[in-house]
């Protein structure tokens, strides 16, 4: 995009077109002939990875919008039905939800790369500022997207974030009402968030074009931080950068697929599988991991307005970075002090992220304040000061010299290690949000469906269905499970006829008929498991004021603290079984009398695995209550295990399909990455 194109079309038709709209020449000069520094390392492929992720998010988002209903009463259900009923809906939804995390992960690496190598310095200030604008737009988009499923975290996240604006003096309340379009977060809020969530990515794409345009005017920075001097310093974008980027993207896709296929809920909050409830706030409201450092800064300041200002300033300060850092040397590779402070800053950001997930009490508040000061000190004190006191190491004469010197291997390895640790710490700290509850963690049971090749134990699902029908269904519903699901692959393995006759045992309320009256009829395969109560009020009245939750998502909606180092181990073991562990433990965790010194309110029962220990539900199971045809023992232990397996299936009927497709995708990606690696080596052989 810099200067007139040297593209010379040979075909007369192309020549005719090029004279009227020189777009092929533009593409040619931008992505084929465009000279790139020879010494770019893999941190530079994150630009390409980000382009791919933006594309993936837009494509999957457009598709999800085809199936999503932006209405406060229907949004949650429509998301569940996307996952359950739409062809490959689970895949598209996982791609989009995990994709948001991957997008932010990539943008953080991209930004830290810019920080380390001084990519914001002259002449790239505008390029950097456009990047900050993209980042702000991404944050807005990500936030509004998280609201759309209308779960508990969606709803309360929206409430908390919009309430930030109430800190504005005098106009605050009016601004918040304006944002909500009502007296509280509600349907108008959801509608406008949906509209804007659909719109903003296209604005991002627009600013990305400006970002790339600015990049092509000033040229890419590089690890040496010296400007190219001769032809020898550069290689054409295609095939050199193209093939390297493709290889980088493929490796990134392997990482991304790990989440899509094997741990889709690792980066999300279990509470968002509970439908939005304006009457109950989750114990801890935690944003997605990528906002945690800023959330920590917000909470570190004891004054409402000052906290909000601090949080926004933490991002806005990036805009002024090109002028705050006056050092003549661009790359931290040649700045002994700059390098150390950079890594301290990275650690500060990671720790802030960790604190953002902790309850705001005790030592966490003090640590948060210190780290907030350190965060701003890096930009406002360290960087301006370093420029005056630091003596940089000598720079290489040219990029070609840098390539020949082959230096910079060691820092890259340490960077990889540090970033992997940082990311997993950030990601894992999500699970720590319930740290102050002080409840006992459920023991991990062994589940046939755990791990990459896990499958549901058909017998256990069938027995669990029987326990559900004879015991649980007296109070609980399974709103998102249809009788037809019983005959679908990956489930209890019944035939269509068996599912139909199972359905026929239920009475379904239908109508109104021609006479305007409701009537009851036998269930059909297309019907959903009904609730034993006509509505929530009736359910509350029969259960001492506590509405029995719908069980179809319970295994995904319940979680507990895993803590360090388990969340790191969990990433590799693909541990996703908090929900079934919890259900299993809860059903067995009843004790006749509370332990000494514990009192529980009247009308509740002691259960050591229930948060707060006082549960309204009496122990639902006792030995010998349900008889199994297959000779399995009629014990509470067996019932609890089977019903937890069944509930895991109701929470994710396509789990087996997910794992099977994941296996195939992994084989493909690994083979492809290998081929790409050798192709890349071949292509670059001439350049090194």
């Amino acid at each position: 995009m810099s200067g007139p194109s040297d593209y010379q079309p040979s075909h007369p038709a192309l020549k005719w077109f090029e004279q009227r709209l020189p777009i092929i020449g533009l593409v040619h000069s931008s992505f084929i002939a465009y000279p790139t520094p020879r010494n770019l390392n893999y941190w530079w492929t994150f630009g390409a990875i980000l382009s791919i992720m933006l594309g993936v998010q837009i494509v999957t988002g457009v598709i999800l919008a085809m199936h999503y209903t932006p209405h406060a009463d229907l949004a949650f259900k429509s998301v569940e039905l996307i996952v359950r009923d739409v062809n490959y809906g689970w895949l598209l939804r996982n791609m989009h939800a995990c994709g948001a995390s991957m997008f932010f992960l990539a943008v953080y690496i991209h930004m830290f790369r810019g920080l380390y190598y001084g990519s914001y310095k002259a002449p790239r200030e505008v390029l950097w500022i456009l990047g900050v604008i993209i980042y702000l737009l991404m944050m807005a988009t990500g936030f509004m997207g998280y609201v759309l499923p209308w779960g508990q975290m969606s709803f309360w996240g929206a409430t908390v974030i919009t309430n930030l604006f109430s800190a504005v003096p005098y106009f605050g309340e009016s601004i918040v009402t304006l944002l909500w379009g009502g007296y509280s977060v509600g349907n108008p809020t959801l509608n406008r968030f949906f509209s804007l969530h659909y719109l903003l990515p296209f604005l991002i794409a627009g600013v990305v074009v400006l970002h790339v345009w600015a990049l092509h005017v000033v040229g890419q920075n590089n690890p040496a931080g010296v400007e190219p001097k001769t032809e020898k310093d550069m290689v054409p974008f295609t095939p050199y950068a193209t093939i390297k980027d493709f290889f980088g993207v493929t490796c990134f896709l392997i990482f991304y697929s790990w989440f899509i296929f094997y741990m889709p809920n690792y980066l999300g909050d279990a509470d968002n599988y509970i439908p939005a409830n304006p009457a109950v706030t989750p114990a801890h409201i935690v944003p997605e991991w990528y906002y945690l450092p800023f959330y920590a800064i917000l909470r570190s300041v004891p004054n409402k307005l000052a906290g909000v200002i601090a949080m926004f300033s933490a991002i806005i300060v990036l805009v002024f970075l090109p002028w705050l850092d006056a050092a003549k040397t661009r790359s931290n590779k040649y700045r002994p002090l700059g390098k150390q402070f950079f890594w301290i800053f990275v650690v500060v950001c990671v720790l802030l992220g960790y604190l953002g997930a902790q309850p705001p009490e005790g030592i966490y508040v003090i640590a948060g304040r210190i780290l907030t000061v350190l965060y701003f000190a890096y930009f406002l004190i360290v960087l301006p000061l370093l420029a005056r006191i630091e003596t940089p190491r000598p720079l290489p004469n040219s990029i070609a010299d840098d390539v020949l010197a082959k230096s910079g291997r060691a820092p890259m390895v340490s960077t990889v290690i540090a970033l992997v640790a940082a990311v997993s710490l950030l990601a894992g700290s999500m699970g720590d949000a319930r740290a102050s509850e002080g409840q006992e963690n459920p023991p991990s049971a062994s589940w046939s469906f755990a791990g990459p090749f896990g499958k549901f134990d058909r017998g256990a699902v069938q027995r669990g269905l029987k326990v559900y029908k004879e015991v649980c269904s007296n109070c609980h519903s399974l709103q998102y499970v249809a009788f037809r699901n019983l005959a679908e692959p990956g489930g209890p393995g019944y035939s269509t006829a068996q599912a139909a006759s199972f359905a026929a045992e239920y009475k379904i309320k239908d109508g109104p008929n021609d006479a305007g009256e409701m009537f009851e009829r036998p269930g059909r395969p297309a019907d959903y498991f009904p609730s034993p109560f006509p509505n929530e009020q009736a359910a509350r009245a029969s259960n001492g004021g506590a509405a029995p939750p719908d069980l179809s998502l319970i295994a995904k909606a319940r979680s507990y603290k895993r803590g360090f180092p388990w969340f790191l181990v969990d990433f590799f073991t693909q541990f996703q079984e908090q929900g079934p562990n919890y259900v299993n433990a809860l059903l067995q965790g009843y004790e006749e009398t509370p332990p000494h010194g514990v009192t529980i309110p009247d009308g509740s029962y002691y259960n050591k695995y229930f948060p707060g220990h006082a549960i309204k539900m009496p122990s639902p199971l006792s030995d010998g209550q349900v008889t199994f045809d297959d000779g399995s023992p009629a014990t509470v232990k067996q019932y609890a295990h089977d019903v937890a397996t069944f509930l895991m299936w109701t929470a994710e009927p396509h789990m087996e399909a997910r794992k099977r497709l994941g296996y195939q995708v992994f084989i493909f990606l690994i083979i492809f990455a290998g081929l790409m690696y050798f192709t890349k080596k071949r292509v670059w052989a001439a350049a090194h």
């Binding site: 084929i32 494509v59 598709i63 085809m66 199936h67 039905l81 359950r84 009923d85 739409v86 062809n87 490959y88 809906g89 895949l91 598209l92 295609t238 095939p239 093939i243 493709f246 249809a482 037809r484 679908e488 059909r524 395969p525 297309a526 493909f668 083979i671 492809f672 081929l675 790409m676 050798f678 192709t679 071949r682 292509v683 001439a686």
Partner: protein, 176 residues
């Protein structure tokens, strides 16, 4: 993939490039599948397309009712003796889309006509008991159908289609 290789005979390098390109192409094409497949009817839509039962007892002679099955209007006409005799007297060969009334109704239930009420021209909904043939008239472009749902006049090329149905009892049919 732009390469500098211009050797006359294939080399190992060419093989690597071709293999990589082919794998990328196969992966790209396969990856499109979920994005296209999601447009097909989802499981709940398919389940909702199950057969329906219709009670014919309240439908008097000369009356029509309209029911919906799979999002399509189905006309169920209780034809009069006169209508049946008229449509059976028409020489089949004179029709634009030749079909006998017998082939469009069930034996022993010739007073019942069950057709999908969607004009075969461009998908409008014809009005029952209108037009020159005591059948259906499509107001959009003037197609006329007789009391057997056969096209008699206008741009429609085909007769109104008969949905799959059967008599469960004398007064009850199952459509689908």
């Amino acid at each position: 993939m732009v390469t500098a290789s211009t050797a006359d005979h294939p080399t190992r390098r060419d093989f690597l490039f071709v293999a990589t390109g082919a794998t990328a192409a196969v992966g790209g094409v396969v990856a499109l599948w979920p994005f296209i497949s999601q447009m097909n009817p989802d499981a709940s839509t398919i389940a909702a397309g199950a057969p329906i039962e219709v009670d014919l007892a309240p439908v008097a002679e000369g009356q029509d009712i309209k029911v919906f099955w799979r999002g399509k209007p189905i006309y169920i006409s209780h034809r009069t003796k006169k209508q049946v005799d008229e449509v059976r007297a028409v020489p089949v060969s004179s029709l634009p889309d030749p079909a006998s009334d017998q082939s469009r109704t069930k034996d022993g239930h010739e007073q019942w006509l069950v057709v999908i009420g969607i004009c075969t021209h461009l998908g409008c909904i014809p009005i029952a008991h209108e037009g020159n043939y005591d059948g259906f008239f499509c107001p959009c472009h003037g197609s006329q159908y007789d009391a057997s749902g056969r096209v008699r006049q206008g741009p429609a090329p085909l007769n109104l289609p008969v949905p799959p149905y059967q008599f469960v009892s004398d007064t009850k049919i199952q459509i689908g």
